[in-house]
């Protein structure tokens, strides 16, 4: 049974939600000099409160509920739910946001719109906290949309760059596609269960198996936000935003929301829906992995690696491994934020994002090099780093799942996931080599001027690098089974595959070796273009959706001009003609009638007046004539 929240907890939740949103409003008006400090202070307070919440979290979920609206018998509540998962996400979001904001202080030092930047960051964080704390799907959806809004504002932060505006629009629209599905899913949920409260929806014995359509609709939300196939193309474009924003977006806020949603609604997913989710996750992993291989933009490689890792998490969700996916989300948050912030340091030093114009930077940027190496190793899944632990947890469970499926085809999923970790190593080592090894290839900024950033930027990077080591998650560097994480979030106990770790390490080493030794192919080769343009997905969208819609728009435009405009003009002309006719009628017939009448009457008046001319003799004449006429008539 869920518990009612204690006063302390209620106050904490209220504070957690109030701080960022109040911060958003205040920071919009704050001068740029103190905006950063204020934002960091707010997030620090939030982090402290989150730790308090985490220490007070109980075995059972705790609820804060209030009724919002009652409509003809159906009542909709606002509720917040605090459990271990919430506490974990609260700390993660605050922590990454804090580091990112510290980093931004230095990275965006010269930015004139700094106050607005930090305000948007606060909005982003606040919206994400709302998702994490939400206790029913309605509240979750509200904050879900706020995340979309904040991401739009931040991706398009450089308003003077047209590409940034395009990317922001693209991200927003693609998210809308997913969100529509999510909204329909919420409607379906209410239709089937008559409630939107997560706590009653996910109760263990809630009765019938929910329909597959419901699960898939809810999953649509995750597809949009977490950039799953086929809605993944907004994520690389989102690199137009400032680099710290990318770090936050990829690690803790935006894309994590989709995974978190899946974790929340996992009991609502029918077996068929889970199979679809697994397949989508696997496709995304491979698609993102391959797309990362030949990218030349340092941030795009990382963006596609995020796509790939998110696919891995989604696939883990599909195989029923919620805790494994959340574990990977946690470890991934640290090393991916670390990678992005390091990439930011590199960009800061050489003023370009193109890896073809980097190289040999390990001597110029030693701290960044070390941090980058550690984070990349964690991402590739080398033992002694955090990524290895979470990947093994996911892959082991995936093999366990496919052995339970009694279907040979299902072994394809874990094998492909395993393969993708080799690909991960391949493209990360390629990037590592291109950036830090070989000859320096930049003509604009000489190597002697490329220098480390200040400690405000190096600090967060180093902290994140340190957190990417195995030690923080499990004492055993080769297995996560004894980890504190799985004590908090118990996983289903599967058998251990003794061969999994060696095979995986072998694949990673092979991939890494290939990545280090490979020679850059010509950029016009078809397989390179397939990777750089991420499987021509955008081109396909262009042909399938954009072009027909454009053509339709042109057609409608023509129709508008030819038919509607003409009709309007015709109506106008006929009205004017009619008006002329009416005016003529008015002038000649009605006026003519009136004037004619007046003329007749005036003639008549003149005639009658002429009789009365005041001359006595004419009167007498008239009298005599009249008398004669009467006589003539009488006789």
């Amino acid at each position: 049974m869920p518990l009612d929240a204690s006063p302390l907890l209620s106050a904490s939740v209220a504070a957690l939600l109030t701080l960022p949103f109040a911060g958003f409003l205040v920071l919009l008006l704050t001068h740029r000099r103190i905006a950063g400090a204020l934002a960091i202070l707010l997030t620090s307070i939030g982090l402290a409160v989150s730790i308090v919440v985490a220490m007070n979290v109980a075995e059972q979920p705790m609820l804060i509920q209030t009724n919002w609206a009652t409509l003809s018998g159906s009542s909709f509540g606002i509720s917040f739910q605090v459990d271990a998962l919430t506490a974990l996400m609260l700390i993660l979001v605050h922590f990454v946001a804090l580091l990112v904001q510290l980093y931004s202080l230095s990275y965006l030092h010269d930015e004139p719109k700094l106050g607005r930047y930090f305000a948007y960051l606060q909005l982003f964080v606040g919206a994400m906290l709302g998702i994490v704390l939400a206790g029913n799907l309605l509240v979750l959806y509200a904050f879900w949309e706020l995340v979309g809004l904040a991401s739009y504002l931040l991706i398009g932060f450089y308003t003077d760059r047209p590409a940034a505006g395009q990317a922001a629009k693209k991200a927003f629209l693609m998210n809308r596609v997913g969100d529509i599905g999510f909204l329909i899913g919420i409607f379906l949920t209410y239709y089937y269960f008559n409630t939107l409260e997560l706590i009653s929806l996910t109760a263990p014995n809630s009765g019938e198996i929910p329909s597959t359509a419901l699960g898939l609709c809810l999953f649509m939300g995750c597809v949009g936000k977490s950039a799953q196939f086929p809605l993944l193309t907004w994520l690389p474009d989102a690199m137009e935003g400032p680099t710290p924003v990318s770090a936050l977006l990829h690690a803790a806020t935006m894309v994590a929301a989709g995974i978190f949603l899946l974790a929340r609604i996992h009991p609502l997913l029918s077996p068929d829906a889970l199979v679809v989710i697994t397949v989508v996750g696997t496709i995304t992993t491979l698609w993102g992995g391959y797309s990362a291989v030949f990218q030349t933009d340092i941030k795009k490689v990382l963006a596609f690696s995020t796509v790939s890792q998110l696919g891995l998490m989604v696939a883990a969700m599909g195989t029923g491994n919620v805790s494994g996916a959340m574990f990977h989300l946690l470890t991934h948050a640290f090393f991916k934020a670390g990678l992005f912030l390091s990439a930011g340091a590199v960009i800061h030093a050489v003023h370009t994002q193109d890896m073809r114009h980097m190289g040999g930077l390990r001597k110029a940027l030693p701290t960044t090099f070390i941090a980058y190496t550690v984070c990349a190793a964690a991402l590739s899944g080398l033992p002694f780093f955090s990524g290895f632990l979470s990947k093994e947890a996911i892959l082991g469970e995936a093999f366990h799942w496919s052995s339970a499926q009694n279907d040979g085809l299902s072994y394809l999923v874990p094998v492909l996931l395993l393969l993708s970790s080799g690909v991960t190593a391949f493209y990360m080592v390629r990037q590592w080599r291109l950036v830090f090894f070989g000859d320096y290839r930049n003509d604009v900024v000489p190597l002697s001027q490329a220098h480390e950033p200040d400690w405000l930027m190096r600090g967060p990077v180093l902290i994140l690098a340190v957190l990417s080591v195995w030690f923080w998650f499990a004492l055993n560097p080769l297995s996560a089974h004894s980890s504190w994480f799985f004590k908090l979030f118990p996983a289903t106990e599967g058998q251990n595959f003794w061969w999994l770790a060696p095979v995986s390490i072998g694949l990673v080493l092979i991939g890494g070796w290939l990545g280090f030794r490979m020679r850059e192919p010509h950029s016009q080769r078809s397989y390179v273009r397939l990777s750089v343009e991420y499987g021509f997905l955008d081109t396909m969208y262009h042909y399938v959706f954009i072009n027909p819609i454009r053509k339709l728009a042109t057609l409608l435009n023509h129709a508008d001009q030819r038919v509607i405009d003409r009709a309007v003009n015709g109506a106008g002309i006929s009205t004017v003609t009619l008006a002329y006719l009416a005016s003529g009628l008015d002038r000649f017939v009605i006026d003519g009638f009136v004037n004619g009448l007046a003329w007749c009457i005036s003639r008549l008046g003149r005639i009658t007046r002429s009789v009365q001319n005041g001359l006595v003799q004419s009167y007498i004449t008239a009298a005599v004539v009249g008398l004669l006429l009467i006589l003539w008539w009488l006789l």
Binding site: N613, G614, L615, V616
Partner: protein, 103 residues
């Protein structure tokens, strides 16, 4: 004395009346018009006298003719006075120039 045919009186009376009427209608000067009126009155008197022969006892026609003369004398006096006043007022006695009756 051989009585004259009464219809001859009627011819003379009608002729006199017509001449008087023509004078009244056609002439411009107020005094001439008055004279026309006198002619018409006297044409009537002739008729009255002529028909009086058919009433030998009471002679109503002759009596009425006398009465008419008296009244005509009075009427002429009044009319001449009016004409005099009109002439004084308008400095003319031409009927064409007097259209005060219009008002």
């Amino acid at each position: 004395m051989q009585p004259v045919d009464s219809h001859l009186f009627l011819f003379v009376g009608a002729a006199l009346f017509s001449i008087g009427l023509a004078v009244v209608v056609v002439k411009r000067h107020a005094i001439v018009v008055l004279m026309g009126i006198e002619l018409m009155l006297n044409a009537v008197n002739i008729n009255l006298v002529a028909f009086s022969q058919y009433d030998p006892d009471r002679l109503q026609g002759q009596m009425l003719a006398l009465f008419v003369m008296v009244v005509a004398a009075a009427e002429s006096a009044v009319a001449l006075a009016i004409v005099l006043q009109v002439y004084r007022h308008f400095r003319t006695a031409q009927l064409d120039e007097l259209n005060e009756l219009k008002q």
